[in-house]
Subunit: 328 residues, 2 copies
Amino acid sequence: MTGISRRAMLASVTSAAFLPTTVPANAAAPLAGKQAPAFYRYKIGDFELTALLDGVRRTKLTASPSRNTPLEAIQAELEKSFLPRDEIFFYFHPALVNTGKKLILIDTGNGPNSIASGTGQLPANLQAAGVDAAAIDTVIISHFHGDHISGLRNADGSLAYPNAEIMVPQAEWNYWMDEGNMSRAADGSPAMNTHRNIRRIFADIAGKLTKYDSGGGKEIQPGIMPIDTSGHTPGHTSFIISSGKDKVCYQADVTSGFAQLYVVNPGWHPGGDMDAAKGEETRRRFYDMLAAERMLVSGYHFTFPSLNYIEKTASGYRLAAAPWNPAL
Amino acid sequence: MTGISRRAMLASVTSAAFLPTTVPANAAAPLAGKQAPAFYRYKIGDFELTALLDGVRRTKLTASPSRNTPLEAIQAELEKSFLPRDEIFFYFHPALVNTGKKLILIDTGNGPNSIASGTGQLPANLQAAGVDAAAIDTVIISHFHGDHISGLRNADGSLAYPNAEIMVPQAEWNYWMDEGNMSRAADGSPAMNTHRNIRRIFADIAGKLTKYDSGGGKEIQPGIMPIDTSGHTPGHTSFIISSGKDKVCYQADVTSGFAQLYVVNPGWHPGGDMDAAKGEETRRRFYDMLAAERMLVSGYHFTFPSLNYIEKTASGYRLAAAPWNPAL
């Protein structure tokens, strides 16, 4: 095996010792300069689901994104996963469910004001997937953070899914629409921005929303069972989507931020969790169950295409990516 | 956290207790019934690369695919990875390199005769990526197994990349074109089928091929360094593709079949390795180096989009998937 030497592997490209070609090269092909559309289809029983990427926000890592973990530990974990130490990737994955009778979108991404930061790409990816926004019957919202609701509006303020019933968690509505809660948020704080954004998004449609009970153990659409996973926010909701014997869990933000950090280290508290202790309790209990059930999970903040299994380890959990299926 | 109960998570879909909707549903949207195009672009320095899926061959697992590992051990490993025990997925990933000056395709997939088995999709994925087959300047072949060379021909026998120089490993050519080696292969054996397929593919272009030296430590195209990784076949070649300080390794079949089995267990011998002992030696030495270098690796038989890092573990290696990048 004479050919494999450290030297050959590290040989510099600046060495121009390539063989001359005898065939004339075509005119240089232009670089495409952009990624393939980011949607991924899969079947759950008779349902056809589509994981849709709203984009990625890349953020320089200058402070720890966790409430209780030093930056150095975060960076060591990133490095262990072959990721840059100084930058963090936030992925956003709404999901589309075609039950055969209804077209249901869960969460709506960061919306048109976020395009400069690399997100707000849900409409483009829906279009690439051949889905007409006007054909969507129902939008289900998991919770009221901006990256889940801001895509409900187009840039001109009109509704992005004009024919859709919009379903929101009752507990989330109760918390955020409470003027007392809003009055206690500091001006300019993330909490105040969230309160204001919620009012902007729901301003003239408050009376038309359907409010659902996250903890009632009743499906809110055929095959879509809400699960109360509060902690991240007061009304944060996950869903078990099932058809026949097949199931997938849409976890939303049980782990948020750069989610795999908190999968591997469930005791690390994401900066975005409003009740950090409850968030951790929810995470451990929920993941213990998903691991025991060996259930497929779509994580809003996992890397594309968001589909993984959860494996329990000695110190936390590990994501096992579902293999790409080129045929449905 | 009253909402998360095992009962709720397991609640049957047959419960029709969903809320009635007040908005009339649109006409049912048809299921798309097919997957997104499977190509993935990434930058290595100034080069733009595209990983392209030629498809997946799903095979019922009735006998061990390994020469030295019982079926039960294979099935236990699949189950550990949340995969079916009775079926195995073979992925195929040619790669396109746009250096800015030349368009170079590495390997060509299973070809048009394999479409019924779910492969032969490289031309469709190239088209989805906006690449004209006639614009490809160079095709580099890693080795002569059918899943790497059969895509050189269209269904009518014409050349699929009509303007491309075709580069093949000299050692591979010497072995397979040797009539003595062919005469020693049993009629109807995989080896004989491979000998015959090679003669079919190269029949009238033998004189036009460029034969390269896999172990010479010299680039065969600007930025493309061959590495002798023989064992899988006598002339099997991997490549280090580099531009500026960036590198990616196109490993071809250092692990073949359902490749991650042999990443995790490098001592297991894939059925396709012609010299199993040399294959294992190559695998361990090559992966030790890739792990030490923390080099990105495109595996021909890894799951889409084929890009991983190699992490050394106590008993072998582990794949760490590179995160999806939506922007170039």
